[in-house]
Amino acid sequence: ELKVEQNPLFLSMQEGKNYTIYCNYSTTSDRLYWYRQDPGKSLESLFVLLSNGAVKQEGRLMASLDTKARLSTLHITAAVHDLSATYFCAVVVYSGGGADGLTFGKGTHLIIQP
């Protein structure tokens, strides 16, 4: 059974600081997603990482994937208050015929204070 672990689960940080969220998964997969969720809202796709060594950046967020270590990171640079949200990583569980249900981590609740 695929397990996805995120850490930390809760993070309070100050504006302007840098930090990294980690996502470990237990079995082979080479497709990983990062999503953002604001309170009471749905999931917003941030990044899709498709191969070992993939790195993607959007604004102050940068995500990377190491399939050999089964590890993805989401790095936040010079945090601003607007990035306060819950961040989820999700890994594809392949099945016969190409179906791809996602297995999510528990999420990292990020609060950025002025």
Binding site: Y35, S42, L43, S45, V48, V93, S95, D100
Partner: protein, 114 residues
């Protein structure tokens, strides 16, 4: 271009009742997945539909069933509701069964079981 839409937005039921939730995928998408998100948790995969067939199922009891229509819209049915079924139910869609693109999530249906 309309994104993924879900109805109703909120729903209140009592234990033992049955409920039907509806999802219309994003235009051009034919694969629909359903997820259950309990408060404070990551989404859990329920099942995925493609070409009107259930292609993959997560670890949910048979009380959870679904259907996909020829126009690609989908329904999630839950029988014999339990208090623990209270959650946000998310629908996600994407084009094709074995693609590598992202899954787009709808706004969700908040189900409360009393």
């Amino acid at each position: 271009d309309a994104g993924v839409t879900q109805s109703p937005t909120h729903l209140i039921k009592t234990r033992g009742q049955q409920v039907t939730l509806r999802c219309s995928p994003k235009s051009g998408h034919d694969t629909v997945s359903w997820y259950q998100q309990a408060l404070g948790q990551g989404p859990q995969f329920i099942f995925q539909y493609y070409e009107e067939e259930e292609r993959q199922r997560g670890n949910f009891p048979d009380r959870f069933s679904g259907h996909q229509f020829p126009n690609y819209s989908s329904e999630l049915n839950v029988n014999a509701l339990l208090l623990g079924d209270s959650a946000l139910y998310l629908c996600a869609s994407r084009p094709g069964l074995a693609g590598v693109g992202e899954q787009f999530f709808g706004p969700g249906t908040r189900l409360t079981v009393l």
